[in-house]
């Protein structure tokens, strides 16, 4: 039962990064492309962004239903970055709605656009900071200590900063990749392709940064990757794909680009899950919260699995239909 739940959680995280993440990334890309990108970006994300976003809510629900202690530990100690994420989520969604749905297009659009871009940048960064803090293991075992020690230092350091940058770049890169396929003219295609390439280079550098900064915290991520065959395999596959991806961008093969980028993201996520499992949250000087010691009672898990399976049977076909109508049926 637990395995199925973790698998669905992984799928939800992956789909959130691939879809919801890219919607945030679109705002980041807009920071670089400016006015030129607005039209393409708005049209591309409007029909799907709400549905995409729900993968995050699904992941959260799985956490608090299936692994309540993991959920409460994260929400207690990482309150501040999560709170910033929430504000970002609200502002991004509201700004996009106000910009896109408003019948009258006038001066106010300027403010929404700024709010949209800024919150699209801040949200993934602090989401990355939160994930970094979960991996790093500076979360204390209890709340004794100063405010700084307990509620700030677990997430405010070089490692979490780099993971934040990494996730932001990942989202931006995915968005640029998808937008290549949405571009209607040669000029915007060039813009998005260039953005995708730049983001990719930065992403690889940030990825190296994650490993290097981990070493300074005695968090031997590199060694853990080598020890796990799944993680090593993921890294190798992701690397092998690079030249193919690069060539397809050049030839403007929309479907292939998206597919390859999706595989690479899946490799990153599965690599992370492989070195993390079965730990869910690392705790400083204490037993980490694992899948096994934090899971809800058997009956809750069984019912959660049923709910997830039925839910997915309903959602996936509908979701596929949504994408067929709006993304592959032009």
């Amino acid at each position: 039962m637990t395995d199925i739940i973790i698998f669905v959680l992984g799928i939800a995280v992956l789909l959130y990064v691939l879809l919801g993440g890219a919607d945030f990334g679109a705002g980041i890309v807009e920071l670089f492309t400016g006015k030129k990108g607005i039209d393409t970006i708005s049209k591309a994300i409007a029909p799907v962004w709400e549905a995409n976003h729900i993968w995050l809510i699904l992941a959260i629900v799985i956490l608090f239903n299936g692994f309540p202690r993991v959920f409460t530990t994260i929400t207690i100690y990482l309150h501040i970055p999560l709170f910033i994420v929430l504000i970002g989520v609200v502002l991004r969604g509201a700004a996009f709605t106000f910009r896109y749905y408003d019948i009258l297009k006038d001066n106010t659009q300027k403010y929404y656009t700024q709010m949209f871009r800024l919150s699209s940048l801040i949200t993934p960064f602090f989401l990355g900071v939160t994930l970094g803090a979960i991996i790093l293991g500076k979360i204390p075992a209890n709340v004794s200590g100063t405010f700084y020690e307990v509620f700030i230092s677990p997430w405010l350091n070089l490692f979490t900063f780099v993971t934040g940058v990494f996730l932001t770049l990942l989202f931006g890169w995915l968005a640029a990749i998808y937008l290549i396929g949405e571009a209607h003219d040669g000029e915007s295609y060039q813009t998005f392709a260039k953005t995708a390439r730049i983001f990719f280079v930065l992403l690889v550098l940030a990825g190296l940064g994650v490993f290097l900064s981990a070493e300074t915290f005695d968090l031997h991520l590199f060694r853990r990757f080598v020890q796990s065959s799944l993680a090593t395999g993921s890294v190798i596959s992701a690397t092998l794909i690079i030249p193919f991806l690069w060539r397809n961008i050049k030839h403007r093969n929309t479907l292939q680009i998206r597919f390859l980028a999706g595989i690479q993201t899946a490799c990153i996520i599965s690599g992370w899950f492989a070195v993390q499992f079965p730990v869910m949250v690392f705790i400083a000087e204490g037993t980490p919260l694992t899948v096994w010691n934090s899971q809800a009672p058997e009956r809750t898990l069984t019912l959660l699995v049923y709910a997830l399976l039925i839910g997915i049977l309903l959602i996936l076909p509908a979701f596929a239909y949504l994408f067929k109508v709006f993304k592959f049926n032009k």
């Binding site: 029909p47 709400e50 976003h53 409460t72 929430l86 749905y101």
Partner: protein
């Protein structure tokens, strides 16, 4: 709101009258804005459960998480169907488009019902044994179908229909007052009130079910709602009035002997438990609950009366529906439903205090150990006040712009 949109769409397909198409499109725009704000607020809600109440979620997560996972599914379907309805008009065939509108409505109602199961569980905790501060022998199915679930879900679902319908009717009545004889706004008022009047008439029945249930499950809450300080047999119903906490009585209220006994237990002479049966430290803030309850009932009565009038006019005196006083009345009633909903939530939430899980866990024991939580509260309040203003402003712009558009295309309306 999706239901209004669906009915307008259905009428467009059936009658081919363009005014219904315009209406469906206009309402879809409203649904889109509300849904987007709802989707991001839903994210806030799921996180805040942990950010604010981690001790509550630690125990409640495994017990009551299940309806949330169902709610997630319903929410997903709603988002997908709405995407198709809003943007797919020229991409999918008419039937699929219409069905997607219906799915939005059904999924919306379902997700509300699922979330309320979790809230009802806090009022009527079941499906677990509380042993030494731990929830053991957890049965999520029993927890979900707790004793308060049905009445709360019913009451809130009807309330959602009533409040939205009256708000929509009020806005279109306002536009109709300014542009007499406009068919677009006239039809809008009729569709909205068709839903609103039925909901407003059904609501007192569901309210009665609720009252009887609360009398059984949470007698303190009922006592606070009515400011019944002393256990009485029979107990009289107090309408209005100011609770005097020092002397423990209600001043200036209208007292109807025996009626509270009847409403709570179906018997004019039955005993109704008062606040005196509970330790004073476990009392909810009596005055707030009392006023909120009175406000909710008063608003409900206003809508009930108007709903009955509407049905009567539709049946016999159709010409009255275009009278100025009638439209003005509708304009005044625009916010009543939403005020009633807010007041109702104050009754059920404040009325449960000091408990977060009734009889099991106190609210103060559930709150996050992080100091300075008030700043996080101020901030989120500020953001939501700002959003409220923005949404109002944006909706106003839409309504005016849609009206201009329709006017331009149908000059003789």
């Amino acid at each position: 709101m999706p239901w209004l949109m669906f009915v307008a769409e259905l009428k467009w397909i059936k009658t081919g009258k363009k005014v219904y198409l315009d209406l469906a499109k206009a309402w879809a725009r409203g649904v889109a804005i509300f849904f987007a704000i709802g989707a991001v607020s839903g994210t806030v809600l799921s996180f805040e459960l942990g950010l604010l109440w981690p001790k509550f979620m630690e125990h409640a997560g495994a017990v009551i998480g299940m309806p949330f996972s169902w709610e997630g599914t319903a929410f997903f379907m709603e988002a997908i169907a709405l995407g198709i309805f809003l943007y797919g008009r020229n991409r999918v065939n008419n039937r699929i488009h219409l069905i997607s509108g219906l799915v939005v409505g059904i999924a919306g109602v379902l997700s509300g019902i699922f979330v309320i199961a979790a809230n009802a569980w806090m009022n009527s905790p079941s499906g677990f044994d509380w042993i030494n501060g731990q929830a053991l022998n957890i049965d999520p199915v029993k927890a979900m179908f707790n004793k308060a679930w049905f009445q709360q879900a019913l009451h809130m679902t009807i309330a959602a229909f009533a409040s939205t319908s009256f708000a929509v009717a009020g806005i279109h009545a306002y536009m109709q007052l300014r542009h007499r004889g406009n068919d677009f706004h006239r039809k809008a008022v009729h569709i909205a009130l068709a839903f609103g009047s039925v909901a407003a008439i059904l609501q007192p029945i569901s309210g009665d079910i609720s009252a009887k249930n609360v009398a059984k499950l949470q007698p303190v809450k009922l006592a606070a709602m009515e400011s019944l300080f002393k256990t009485s047999e029979p107990a009289s119903l107090v309408i209005g009035g100011i609770p005097n906490m020092k002397e423990e009585k209600v001043e200036y209220g209208m007292h109807i002997p025996g009626l509270l006994s009847f409403l709570a237990h179906g018997d004019f002479t039955a005993e109704v438990e008062g606040l005196d049966k509970t330790k004073k430290e476990d009392w909810p803030p009596v005055a707030i609950v009392h006023y909120a309850f009175q406000i909710m009932v008063f608003m409900g009565m206003l809508m009930l009366g108007t709903g009955i009038l509407f049905l009567a006019f539709m049946y016999k005196w159709k010409e009255k529906l275009d009278k100025r006083w009638w439209l003005k009345l509708l304009v005044w009633l625009t916010p009543t439903g939403f005020i009633a909903v807010e007041a109702g939530w104050i009754v059920t939430e404040v009325g449960r205090q000091p408990w977060i899980i009734y009889g099991i866990m106190k609210t103060r024991d559930a709150v996050t150990p992080m100091p300075g939580i008030q700043y996080s509260f101020y901030m989120i309040t500020l953001i939501y006040i700002l959003l409220t203003f923005l949404v109002f402003w944006l909706m106003r712009r839409q309504i005016l712009a849609i009206h201009m558009n329709h006017q331009k295309n149908n000059p003789h309306d």
